[in-house]
């Protein structure tokens, strides 16, 4: 291929979604949120299951945790993010994302910092129990603490 070819291509959304009829955006969002409410209990159950598994496998209580792949922790944190909408405003999904950050950093640097993992797991548990009742600034302080831990670890490597 030599040079770049620019072309107009068919966009069915532009053809069908725009124009007469359809539903108002505000109404569509409302209906979608209502549809999501149907999944809220299932989402919370998944979050609780994953949290329990993370604590069981990667918490300080498991003497064999060093032998586990952190990919498992990444996958479990990802499932909490997927279901995070079930606990809106708890900060839980941001914390789970911080876990993914930490695992990614560990992979990239080929290290594993159990102190940092312990802090993240403890924060997940705090946010699950009390995240929705904390103020935004309290949640932010907790999450900022996690990103500082990760940043510090990154700087130390």
């Amino acid at each position: 291929m030599s040079g770049a070819i620019f072309r107009r291509v068919p966009n069915k959304l532009a053809q069908l979604a725009v124009g007469r009829g359809g539903i108002a955006v505000g109404e569509a969002v409302k209906r979608a949120n209502a549809a999501l409410d149907d999944l809220k209990d299932a989402s919370i159950a998944i979050i609780d299951d994953q949290l329990a598994e993370i604590d069981r496998l990667f918490g300080p209580g498991n003497p064999d945790r060093a032998g586990l792949s952190l990919d498992i922790l990444y996958a479990q944190a990802s499932q909490i993010i997927d279901a995070g909408g079930g606990l809106t405003g708890s900060g839980l999904e941001e914390c789970a994302r911080a876990v993914c950050d930490l695992v990614s950093l560990s992979r990239a640097n080929n290290t594993c910092d159990w102190d940092a993992i312990d802090v993240h797991i403890a924060t997940l548990k705090v946010l699950r129990a009390q995240g929705q009742s904390l103020t935004a600034s309290q949640r932010l302080t907790l999450l900022k603490g996690l990103s500082d831990v990760t940043a510090k670890r990154a700087g130390e490597v």
Binding site: V25, L39, G85
Partner: protein, 202 residues
């Protein structure tokens, strides 16, 4: 270049005639995606649990938009996007693609943009965020670019990066090898700043 305006509650979209392909290996996440788009009035959706099944559906034809998870075992959402843009038959290769991801380091968002995804959305999937992107896709008039190093919607952004197969000269130029993510997650507004087309001086 298109101006992407924020949708208003009174704006209308008619999605009941659009065929959605939803891809996620996590059954609950797939169900969330399906619930959200059905709330938008979508009647035609195909749900699959991985890239291989997605490719089969795409080869069958008739898909108008793809929403795919980024992190999937085996072939991930980025590989699927790359396949659609470079190997899928026409007109499937032009289909709009929205990548949905739980982990949003800048390197991943940039990768999604540079392999031809239209938008990247951070999980958990929020209806208003997804609908805004569908709104933009419906109203955008970006041209489609086919070049040696890039196939996808025109992505003229503030920083284009080095040409394909070169290392670049700046310390922050990305190479083709993504490697493991080692940067913090981006917020949705930071993702948008990377993904939205913007006017540039050429």
């Amino acid at each position: 270049m298109a101006t992407l305006r924020r949708m208003l509650d009174g704006d209308k979209l008619k999605l009941d005639g659009i065929n959605f392909l939803l891809v996620d290996d996590n059954p609950h996440a797939l169900q969330i995606m399906a619930q959200v788009v059905s709330g938008f009035g979508v009647r035609n959706m195909t749900k699959v649990d991985g890239a291989a099944a997605a490719r089969q559906e795409l080869l069958r034809g008739g898909i108008d938009i793809v929403l795919t998870d980024a992190q999937m075992p085996g072939e991930n959402g980025y590989k699927l996007t790359e396949w659609i843009r470079r190997e899928a038959p026409e007109p499937t290769r032009y289909v709009p693609i929205v990548i949905v991801t739980g982990h949003t380091p800048e390197s991943d968002v940039t990768l999604g943009r540079d392999i031809g995804a239209n938008f990247t959305i951070a999980k958990p999937l929020l209806p208003r965020v997804l609908l805004q992107r569908l709104f933009w896709i419906s109203y955008e008039d970006r041209q489609f670019v086919q070049a040696e190093g890039y196939v996808g919607p025109d992505r003229r952004f503030k920083r284009l990066g080095p040409p394909a197969d070169t290392e670049g000269r700046r310390c922050d130029d990305l190479t083709g090898d993504l490697g493991a993510a080692s940067q913090p997650n981006l917020s949705q507004s930071e993702i948008d700043a990377l993904m939205k087309p913007a006017k540039v001086a050429l």
